[in-house]
């Protein structure tokens, strides 16, 4: 078995219109910029995939990555905890114009719902958001004298994540805090694509150090020197670049 995919374009070629797409990263840290841009390029060339639901902690920054997806009109709905950033204009404008939907989820609930999706737990109770506007309409229950909100699992058709080292079997490690949502998104998506800075043979990752076991990963694509979203934004990058 070999989960390597030859190109970024191939890695995102099957994502259909209307798909729910989990995208790793917290702000720019862990954002799979190259996979996102390959998806945008496909959309600009073919009109697909359109009307996506994107699940990420944030809602993009500047004019690259998720912000660029939104700017190009591919995204019908964001599921996130914090749709603000240094430069959130793209999301903000579409949101205020009613052109994009928002499901706001407390960050820990977002993480736990994703983990539940990957772990076969359809619902769980959390103290988070009890008594607040974000709990409206959700079942509540009391356990041991304290009140909790019932939350449902969150799954996706596809996860796009960024990892540091991956082997042919899909075992992954991450780089520092770029890990964030990637391991749980890999669990929760029907199809997980990881862009990795280093590809190694099976055995090239210490079995103790594997963070995401290959069972959660379907495709691995090599991106040796990935862009850092923060660097792109500091350089005022825009995707796609407008030809002169």
């Amino acid at each position: 078995m070999d989960k390597r995919i030859a190109s970024l374009a191939d890695a995102v070629s099957d994502i259909p219109d209307g798909a729910a797409v989990m995208i790793g990263g917290f702000g720019g840290s862990g954002a799979p910029i190259e996979l996102i841009h390959a998806l945008i390029d496909r959309y600009l060339a073919t009109g697909s995939p359109a009307r996506l639901t994107v699940i990420n902690n944030n809602a993009g920054n500047g004019h690259v990555g998720i912000a660029a997806m939104i700017e190009q009109g591919m995204v019908a709905k964001m599921v996130c905890s914090f749709p603000r950033s240094a430069d959130p204009r793209v999301f903000t404008e579409k949101y205020l114009a009613g052109e994009i939907a928002l499901e706001l989820v407390p960050q820990g609930t977002l993480a736990e719902r994703i983990r539940a999706g990957g772990a076969g737990i359809p619902a769980f109770y959390t103290p988070t958001s009890f008594g607040t506007d974000l709990a409206e309409g959700k079942p509540v229950a009391e356990f041991e004298g304290r009140s909790y909100v019932q939350e449902r699992w969150l799954k996706a058709d596809v996860a796009l994540i960024k990892a540091e080292t991956g082997d042919h079997l899909g075992n992954l490690t991450y780089r520092m805090a770029a890990r964030n949502f990637a391991p749980i998104m890999a669990m929760a998506a029907a199809h997980t694509v990881a862009q990795v800075s280093h590809i190694v043979e099976p055995g090239g990752i210490d079995p103790e150090a594997v963070v995401t076991p290959g069972i959660f990963v379907d495709a691995v694509v090599s991106v040796p020197n990935p862009a850092q979203e923060e660097d792109l934004n500091r350089a005022n990058a825009i995707h796609p670049q407008v030809s002169a």
């Binding site: 990957g118 737990i121 079997l169 669990m187 079995p207």
Partner: protein, 222 residues
């Protein structure tokens, strides 16, 4: 009566495991399936206690007792092995990430119900991971002798022993036949050529149905 040995049943079950499949084998007899992977195919074995992609048993005396499977038997590392904790291990199970789980059975009913953890209120009950495995693996198969030691059917109309899971089994590899479960009925797929349909039916606790031809169950040299 001629019937398949346990090894031969395990061999038959192994033929249906595709290359690259993620597989959990129940402790005991089902573990034997790993020995019979067809050439050119390599399944990736999962064990409840937190290993994915382990290798076969070590030579006697070479055991490392931190490297065991769910049956507490020593296994070995392979390139690409990964370790993880128990909650992650059962996230793999319950979360639908395994392609196949192959389990033993006391009884399997025509509606797919499985009883394989308790023979009743006597003795010490023990369940292990069976109740999790039946909910999660994309395909749950059973390997078993066709009848109990005293000749009673193990493929039954309705389980009389405590259930492990409801409507979970989709294929049964027995010492006499391969039987699918579909729409609440036993569908005979293969049987030993020397055995007539009526003979097999008489050893089975619920009606065997046919849906097209019944193939010969191969008796492999293992």
């Amino acid at each position: 009566m001629t019937k398949l040995t346990n090894a031969q049943i395990a061999w038959r079950a192994a033929q249906d495991i595709h290359d690259g499949a993620y597989v959990n084998l129940g402790i005991g007899f089902p573990e034997m399936v790993a020995r019979f992977q067809p050439k050119g195919r390599q399944a990736i074995f999962h064990t409840e206690n937190g290993i994915l992609g382990f290798g076969e048993a070590p030579a006697p005396g070479q055991e490392d007792w931190d490297l065991i499977n769910a049956g507490k038997k020593a296994v070995t590392l392979k390139p690409g092995t990964a370790f993880f904790h128990h909650a992650d291990s059962f996230a793999m199970v319950r979360g639908g990430h395994l392609d196949v789980a192959i389990l033993g059975a006391y009884q399997v009913a025509q509606n797919g119900d499985l009883a394989n953890w308790s023979t009743g209120p006597k003795g010490v009950p023990a369940v292990g991971g069976a109740m999790d495995l039946v909910h999660g693996a994309k395909r749950v198969a059973v390997i078993t002798d066709h009848v109990t030691k005293d000749g009673k059917p193990k493929l039954v109309d309705r389980c009389t022993l405590p259930l492990t899971g409801l409507g979970c089994v989709t294929r049964i590899y027995t010492s006499l036949a391969v039987v699918d479960i579909k729409d609440g009925r036993f569908l005979l797929r293969e049987k030993l050529p020397a055995l007539s349909f009526d003979e097999l039916q008489s050893l089975t606790g619920a009606p065997l149905h046919r849906d097209g031809d019944v193939a010969d169950l191969i008796v492999p040299e293992v």
